[in-house]
């Protein structure tokens, strides 16, 4: 479903509800191209080096606005993820600028005498917090816009396409057989690389940026990535495309940290089911031979 059609549908739903006034799309968002991801498909797995680079992009760029509150620091050293050494994650947590609420203290105060909210440095078991204490603080800082938490962002977005009945009939079984689950990652990559100059006939609202892939084409987030912005240690190219790819892979892991465990258990379960099915089939065939 194209997001513009989707928006029109929302209008219908909203009118039906009589709750809200319909919002209409300002422009058509472009089709989202599919990327190739290491974590896609039957043999999908994460590239550890890529996740580590992606975390670096998150930490140096995204974390200035976005939290990752459903991911805990300890997850960063667990198998199936970036697997940073535990000691360095401990140090990272302790130095993370966004600290954990620690009030009330033994005197029952939630702020110091100077009016500073009591907080403590994060530990391994704590969530990776963004810079804002709450939604209102974030909206106040960003001109009313809210930078969403990124914990499940690749699951919460999709790149499903508008299609005719025929395209749906062909595309659906193909996506099922391929186990296509990377629509959110494709969308995120497209969004991060989709900044451009607005067409001459389009007037952007104050503080908004033009993005080819964002529904309505006007996005409150300014282009976050610039070439050379993050210094990679491993010699990977420091281009917008590479940053986008790496941070998307990292966020895909953040949203689905059990992906590798899931896919490696999957083929064993399927193999078991397949062999047992064949045994049942052979037994059934032999049994029924007496009847037919």
């Amino acid at each position: 479903m194209k997001r513009s059609t989707a928006l029109k549908a929302s209008a219908v739903a909203a009118v039906m509800l009589g709750l809200t006034t319909p919002v209409l799309a300002a422009g058509e968002a472009a089709e989202i191209p599919r990327q190739s991801w290491t974590f896609a498909g039957f043999r999908g797995h994460f590239d550890k080096a890529q996740l580590q680079r992606g975390f670096q992009v998150y930490k140096e760029v995204c974390a200035n606005c976005h939290g990752l509150k459903r991911v805990r620091f300890r997850n960063l050293s667990e198998p199936g993820g970036p697997q940073f050494p535990e000691e360095s994650v401990k140090a990272l947590a302790a130095s993370w600028p966004n600290k954990i609420f620690d009030g009330p203290n033994d005197q029952g105060e939630i702020a110091t005498s100077k009016g500073v909210i009591i907080k403590r440095p994060a530990g391994l078991a704590d969530p990776i917090l963004g810079p804002h204490d709450n939604e209102k603080a974030a909206r106040a800082a960003f001109n009313g816009a809210l930078p969403p938490d990124l914990s499940v962002i690749t699951l919460a977005r999709s790149a499903s396409h508008a299609g005719t009945l025929l395209q749906t009939l062909v595309g659906m079984p193909r996506d099922i057989v391929n186990g296509y689950q990377e629509g959110g990652a494709d969308y995120l990559y497209a969004l991060l690389t989709g900044y451009a100059n607005a067409p001459a006939d389009m007037k952007l609202a104050d503080g908004m940026s033009y993005n080819k892939y964002f529904p309505g084409n006007q996005i409150a987030m300014i282009a976050p990535l610039q070439p050379g912005l993050v210094k990679y240690q491993d010699g990977s190219p420091t281009t917008i495309e590479q940053y986008a790819k790496d941070v998307t892979a990292f966020l895909a892991w953040a949203g689905d940290p059990k992906l590798e465990e899931r896919k490696s258990m999957g083929w064993k379960v399927l193999l078991y089911l397949l062999i047992t099915s064949l045994l049942f089939y052979a037994a059934k065939k032999r049994l029924w031979a007496q009847v037919h």
């Binding site: 479903m1 549908a9 186990g179 949203g255 896919k263 999957g266 379960v269 059934k284």
Partner: protein, 429 residues
């Protein structure tokens, strides 16, 4: 069938003792071991067993999920994330439960289509069929309640849209609909109160389903299974004992079904869901596109095809309730569509229109989509109310075999073919 003699022989003193006091093993043996099963059943008849397995899987995984889930508006979404991330194999249990709901519906739709094609709703199986429709209604209610629990955007707004349907009753008695909606919500909007009661009911209904399933199986064992010819079992050679014949076949089919199930669980767990449900519920932000789960889409299309709100609601509920009456709407005495040359094509068209409605339910109801929805909705009702009664009267059925044995082993087995309409050959008993 139910009164066929069980061949159970107690083999120990304890079994004899129990048999005289509670002959449960005698009953189970009679009903599930040597129960006569038509020998010509095809694989479409394995879905009853598959559905039982689906229900068991949903209950077991659901009970475990309930140990970790928190039905609170501020914590529900996060508790699901805890299950996905921190509970041992929580990701697996949760995927099985979520995918399991879809698998349950795939199986029930095949099961229902089987019943329609082979006339399994006709006498003497009317009560069996009606119990099935009740199970299906309960499944829809349970699925809807369950979809609320993750408390994502689609949960929240799905509940808002569907519960709001009842407000259309304001057109009948002013204020009635609104009051019902407030009563369902437990307040003046969908909130944590709604979530908590939906959780309670979502835990309750599966056990109600299990109860009606027991009645469904009971009714089945009174009248016996239908079969692809639609001809009743007449002699011993028409049937085989349920165990091991039907059981082995069911097990094979169940495992093949599980392969599909597992593929989704492990490789496409989110394929059948909606991305917006990974966004925590927010009463202040309406998602761009509110759609129900795929298994409700045909009915959602019917709802939106009718220009009036109350009319749409009546059509939507009517489209399911009408199924209760088809044992009497179908005037043909021939059960199986295999021998109904005209009806067969109308039935294929009916299946096609339901699939089309499913597609249209996901589309914006405007232009060609709306027109198509209206045509398909018209056909949906016309099929039951006009085509079923009329075709049954005007159609000449094709020649049918005399018995199940003849259908399986060919004409040599039990004489020549008989003229059309001579389905119930009492002399063969």
């Amino acid at each position: 069938m139910a009164n066929h003699e069980s061949t159970y022989k107690p083999s120990s003193r304890f079994e004899r003792w129990l048999d005289e006091r509670l002959p449960i093993r005698r009953m189970m043996h009679g009903q599930f071991v040597d129960f006569p099963t038509p020998r010509n059943l095809n694989y479409l008849w394995t879905f009853g067993g598959i559905l039982t397995a689906c229900l068991a899987i949903q209950i077991v995984t659901g009970v475990v999920l309930a140990m970790h889930y928190i039905p609170h508006e501020a914590m529900a979404f996060d508790s699901i994330e805890r299950i996905r991330r921190d509970v041992n194999y929580g990701w697996l249990i949760r995927n099985v439960h979520a995918v399991g709901a879809s698998m349950f519906f795939i199986a029930v739709y095949i099961h229902m289509a089987r019943g329609l094609y082979y006339g399994s709703y006709k006498a003497p199986r009317e009560v069996l069929w009606i119990l099935g429709v009740i199970i299906y209604l309960l499944m829809m209610a349970t699925g809807f309640l369950g979809y609320t629990l993750p408390w994502g955007q689609m949960s929240f707004w799905g509940v808002t849209v569907i519960t709001n349907l009842f407000s259309s009753l304001d057109a009948v008695i002013p204020g009635l609909g609104t009051r019902i909606v407030v009563w369902l919500w437990g307040g003046y909007s969908v909130s944590g109160v709604t979530l908590n009661r939906f959780f309670s009911l979502h835990y309750l209904l599966p056990f109600v389903i299990a109860g009606v399933v027991a009645l469904h199986v009971w009714a089945l064992h009174v009248v016996g299974q239908n079969n692809p010819t639609g001809i009743e079992i007449k002699s011993k050679s028409d049937s085989v004992p349920m165990a091991p014949y039907a059981v082995m076949k069911d097990m094979f089919a169940l495992f093949v079904f599980m392969i599909v199930f597992a593929w989704f669980v492990f490789y496409a767990p989110n394929y059948l869901g909606h991305a917006d449900n990974y966004i925590e519920a927010n009463p202040l932000v309406t998602p761009p596109h509110i759609v129900p789960e795929w298994y409700y889409l045909p009915f959602y299309a019917i709802l939106r095809a009718i220009p009036s709100k109350l009319g749409g609601v009546i059509a939507m509920f009517g489209s399911i309730l009408i199924l209760l009456f088809i044992p009497w709407l179908d005037t043909s005495r021939v059960r199986s569509a295999r021998y109904r040359p005209i009806f067969k094509w109308f039935l294929y068209l009916f299946f096609l229109s339901v699939i089309a409605l499913g597609y249209l339910g996901a589309k914006t109801p405007e232009g060609i989509y709306l027109l198509m929805s209206r045509i398909c909705t018209f056909y949906y009702f016309a099929f039951f109310l006009i085509i079923m009664p009329i075709v049954g009267v005007i159609e000449t059925p094709s020649p049918m075999p005399r018995s199940i044995t003849e259908a399986v082993l060919g004409k040599g087995a039990s004489g020549a073919g008989v003229p059309a309409g001579a389905a119930a050959a009492p002399e063969k008993r």
